[in-house]
């Protein structure tokens, strides 16, 4: 939606190419710089919403400022990379980082006919999955034709003629015409911090469940703000558009004089690499151990549709539940088309605080084009229920 439509349909004055440089909470005003005229001026506010988003991590290695290296964190950065692919016709791309951005960019570049390599420092891609499920994704990447280099850390970029030419890891040099950085993001909160607005976990702005900061008249929402994790009962920083839209809605209702709360998140996310769908929600093993909880896991293999039905294909579902109580703690799914959105069943169960035993009797839909009579989700929670009860 453009600034013109915001004006005509909503009556909102949206000014692009205007950067806020200072917040003065004492006098309720912000210093705004018009990036075209380079002029700055103070604008007063009664209420202020900080929605400054997140910024990509940039590796501090030699050559990281070479042209041809891109982070993906805004509509504009996506447009820029597409233009580069269209006009400069790069042949070889190297993606650094095996998270959502890395995977999705690897897919996009593969579809545009580039040779794609992916470098990941850890032992697996998608570190929001447990190692066993992450390994399935690594296997899928290789299967779709990506050159995968795990346990290799970035040491430098090489450049020649004013362009990046290679990515250097601790084990090899990978020639590159185009480099994509997918090393994660951090909340963009330097402006808020300078204004003395208290920050919380990982430098995200601390907010209450109405999205108010600790500074009177100032609210925060989106990738710059904290969320509350409903399973771990701790503040977290998760930079996802799903959360940003909901937090923005709640902040807006409260600012507009209504009353709304954002209770929190369960850490749900999905991604896709070619035919493979990847999904997760709740806590993974590492996070559960940090909380000191004892847990059981169940990992089952099934099919996305009835086994005999055309286009049925593999799906692996992992469920994690607390020992004793059987409370669902998390779930992860890897499979072909039809797999990923099943994570929403687990996400809803986490919101409801259900146990795996309670989930077994969920009245989920069934017909052969969509699932087996026991949906893979139900097969997983049945197995998890058995594991929860078994003596460890």
């Amino acid at each position: 939606m453009t600034p013109e439509t915001f004006k005509s349909e909503y009556g909102i004055d949206a000014r692009v190419l205007h950067e806020v440089e200072e917040i003065d909470p004492e006098n309720r005003r912000v210093l705004v710089k018009d990036l075209q005229s380079k002029k700055g001026r103070w604008e007063p506010y009664d209420r202020l919403l900080i929605a400054t988003g997140a910024v990509p991590f940039c590796p501090k290695v030699p050559g990281s400022d070479a042209p041809g290296i891109y982070g993906l964190h805004s509509l504009q950065s996506g447009i820029t990379v597409r233009n580069v692919v269209d006009t400069e016709r790069p042949r070889r791309a190297v993606v650094v980082g095996g998270g959502y951005i890395g995977l999705e960019m690897a897919e996009a570049l593969l579809l545009r006919g580039l040779e794609v390599s992916l470098v990941e420092r850890g032992t697996q891609v998608m570190n929001t999955l447990d190692p066993d499920m992450g390994a399935l994704v690594s296997k899928a990447l290789v299967e779709v034709g990506i050159n995968l280099y795990l346990e290799e850390s970035l040491e430098a970029f090489e450049a020649a003629g004013g362009r990046v030419t290679a990515v250097v890891t601790d084990r090899r040099t990978l020639p590159a015409d185009l480099v994509i950085l997918g090393l994660g993001v951090r909340p963009n909160t330097a402006l808020a911090q300078r204004a003395g607005i208290p920050l919380g976990v990982r430098g995200a702005i601390r907010v209450n469940d109405r999205m108010q900061t600790d500074t009177p008249g100032i609210w925060a929402a989106g990738d710059c703000a904290e969320s509350f994790h409903l399973v771990s009962r701790r503040p977290v920083h998760i930079a996802l558009g799903t959360i940003a839209n909901k937090q923005g809605r709640v902040a807006g209702i409260n600012i507009g004089g209504g009353y709304a709360t954002f209770p929190g998140v369960v850490g749900t996310a999905v991604s896709k690499i070619c035919k493979w769908e990847v999904a997760r929600t709740g806590l993974q093993e590492r996070e559960i151990r940090q909380l000191g909880l004892e847990f059981a896991t169940a990992t089952i293999k099934s099919t996305t549709r009835a086994g005999y039905y055309p286009q049925a294909g593999p799906i692996t579902v992992k469920a994690l539940a607390e020992k004793g109580s059987g409370r669902l703690l998390g779930a992860q799914i890897v499979g072909i088309e039809g797999a990923a959105k099943r994570i929403d069943i687990f996400a809803t169960a986490l919101h409801a605080g259900m146990s795996v035993q309670e989930m077994i009797n969920l009245d989920l839909s069934y017909a052969p084009p969509y699932s087996n009579v026991w949906d893979p989700v139900l097969v997983a929670v049945r197995q998890a229920d058995r594991e929860v009860r078994s003596a460890s």
Partner: protein, 44 residues
């Protein structure tokens, strides 16, 4: 005195969702959003 004024810093998902929602509830609110990049974004 003029209308109350909401200033939004950042014209992406959270900022523009909030701007639209606040304006919907309070038509008299003067809403201005500043975005340093060339685009705003919103999915109602």
């Amino acid at each position: 005195m003029g209308a109350e004024r909401l200033v939004v810093i950042g014209g992406d998902a959270a900022g523009m969702s909030a701007a639209a929602q606040a304006k919907r509830l309070n038509r008299n609110l003067d809403v201005i959003a500043f975005e340093k990049g060339p685009h705003t974004s919103y999915s109602a």
